[in-house]
């Protein structure tokens, strides 16, 4: 993504093109030439925004399918809870912290404090930036990215974390941690000034969710029974691979908005062509990741592993997210395929360290996110390898330290882990008093 909130000079010029106020509401007004770009870009943000919104459904289904049936209702509660809290706190704190415009609290490092404010109804008395899009559409679109970051965390920590401490973490992640680091790049902060490139957020979104998930998974510890005393990994199969597959396809669909919308402009033929390139590259990278995982699991384990193929598709998507525009279709496929390979190798590697990641969020979002961010240097002539690497490390250190502080404070105050008996009986009955599938099992 390029820096948002272009200067207001363009807006002042554009203001003279505004229709008079009364006419703005009537249906027979032909858009002025100066408004057409604004209209198309705004429309594009709204469509891309609701596609990214739909990714919340994808995460919910993927996670519901990969946890055991005794924890499904809890996992769904966490998903709708985190999305809604992200919506509120990105509005109250996050948005202006991420996009301070000229109002940085510390130049290039810490944004502005204050809730998001939209334009007046009908753009009344508003000097709208006619070269860009409405603030409402920009806010709506950006909010969805923030919520996606929080969704990444819930899957990794499933089946053992308490509901309320998890939601408190979500609030701090979406109000503070995500927006601050995102301002460094997308808000025009110091990483952006250095020339760091991250088109739609392999680092800014995915690795941030991944770092927070990794930190949480280490502090929280593995699920009971996941690793034996001898150090062997005990597989805990998910309850419903149909839902997991549906969730993956939903995420795949949403990603067209995630990457396509990050072009940020749809006001010229060139931009529309670029968005088209991005859609096609995004799709082929996912396919590359899925096929790589399909073949690799067949070779390594003699049978393909569906859950790995699903993770492979998502890793392909994460890998292409940092630069979905420049690569050719062939290169995009390869970038995605490397993501698929990373996942298949990284899942058992995390198990060796006894880091229990229920849905594979850390390999998919963190490891493939790092790979995707590095891969920009191979396809975009403006990218500098060491700037990419530096930015990955800076963002990583910031997120690991801030989330570790939050997790440790939560651990010593509210406690983050359910009782042993609760974990074994399932979080659904113990914490919610309801089950996702009450007609199975106990009647």
């Amino acid at each position: 993504m390029f820096t948002k909130r272009t200067s207001l000079i363009a807006g002042a010029v554009a203001a003279s093109c505004l229709p008079s106020l009364g006419l703005a509401q009537s249906a027979d007004v032909t858009p002025l030439n100066g408004e057409i770009g604004f209209i198309f870009t705004t429309f594009m943000f709204l469509v891309a925004g609701f596609l990214v919104f739909w990714m919340a459904a994808g995460f919910a289904m993927l996670e519901a399918g990969l946890v055991r049936s005794k924890n499904v209702a809890m996992q769904l509660t966490k998903n709708i809870g985190l999305f809604s809290l992200a919506s509120l706190f990105y509005y109250l704190i996050g948005y202006n912290l991420m996009y301070p415009g000229d109002g940085w609290s510390i130049e290039g490092t810490l944004g502005a404090f204050g809730p998001a404010v939209l334009e007046a109804v009908g753009l009344a008395d508003t000097e709208a930036d006619m070269t860009y899009a409405s603030v409402g559409s920009d806010f709506f679109f950006q909010l969805m990215f923030c919520a996606a970051t929080a969704s990444i965390v819930s899957g990794a920590l499933a089946e053992r974390i308490k509901l309320w401490p998890f939601l408190v973490f979500t609030v701090l992640l979406t109000a503070v941690i995500y927006p601050i680091q995102a301002s460094w790049k997308w808000g025009g902060g110091f990483l952006d000034a250095m020339g760091f490139l991250d088109f739609a957020g392999s680092t800014v979104v995915h690795s941030v969710g991944g770092w927070a998930a990794l930190t949480g998974a280490i502090i929280l510890g593995p699920r009971i029974g996941k690793y034996t005393k001898e150090g062997k990994t005990v597989p805990i199969p998910g309850s419903n691979l149909t839902l997991a597959t549906l969730g993956t396809f939903i995420l795949w669909l949403g990603w067209f908005g995630f990457n396509g919308g990050s072009q940020l402009y749809m006001d010229t033929a060139g931009n529309v062509a670029d968005i088209s390139r991005i859609f096609a590259n995004t799709n082929t990278a996912a396919a590359g990741g899925a096929v790589a995982a399909l073949i690799l699991t067949q070779l390594l384990y003699k049978k393909p592993d569906l859950t790995m193929v699903l993770n492979g598709a998502l890793a392909g998507l994460v890998s292409i997210t940092a630069e979905p525009l420049f690569p050719s279709l062939g290169t995009a496929t390869l970038i995605g395929a490397v993501g698929g390979v990373i996942v298949v190798l990284a899942v058992p590697m995390l198990d060796r360290f006894k880091i229990d990641d229920v849905v594979g969020a850390i390999p998919v979002h963190l490891f493939a996110g790092i790979w995707g961010t590095i891969a920009v240097a191979f396809t975009n002539p403006d990218a500098a390898f060491f700037t990419q690497l530096y930015s990955i490390v800076v963002v990583g250190i910031f997120v690991v330290i801030t989330s570790a502080v939050v997790w440790f404070v939560l651990k010593s105050t509210m406690g983050i882990r359910v009782e042993e008996e609760v974990e074994i009986n399932g979080l659904d009955m113990a914490e919610l008093g309801m089950e996702a599938y009450p007609e199975f099992g106990r009647s």
């Binding site: 990994t233 597989p235 298949v344 899942v347």
Partner: protein
Amino acid sequence: MKLIIATIKPFKLEDVREALTEIGVRGMMVTEIKGFGAQSGHTEIYRGAEYAVNFVPKIKLEIVVESASADQVVETIIKSAQTGKIGDGKIFVLDVGQTVRVRTGESGTEAI
């Protein structure tokens, strides 16, 4: 009267049912079970971690017949359920003390 208990491979159920119907068996009870014998389970891999499947899915048949036809039923099950590979199953033949038809109260071979 004899009770014949047979465990077979699940995919052979239809063949066994057809063969038994052809020789005049008029009823059977079928249960999905898990167990192990000489085959003693196998290993699978989920997300890169190997795990043991200790109990293998099987189908259990329970058939009550007149003593005179027990051998023929056993032969028919063997013929129709056999693959020659490990895990084809077992057959047990037990004596039955009494049989009663609930609807009519008939008992003995009449009730089979």
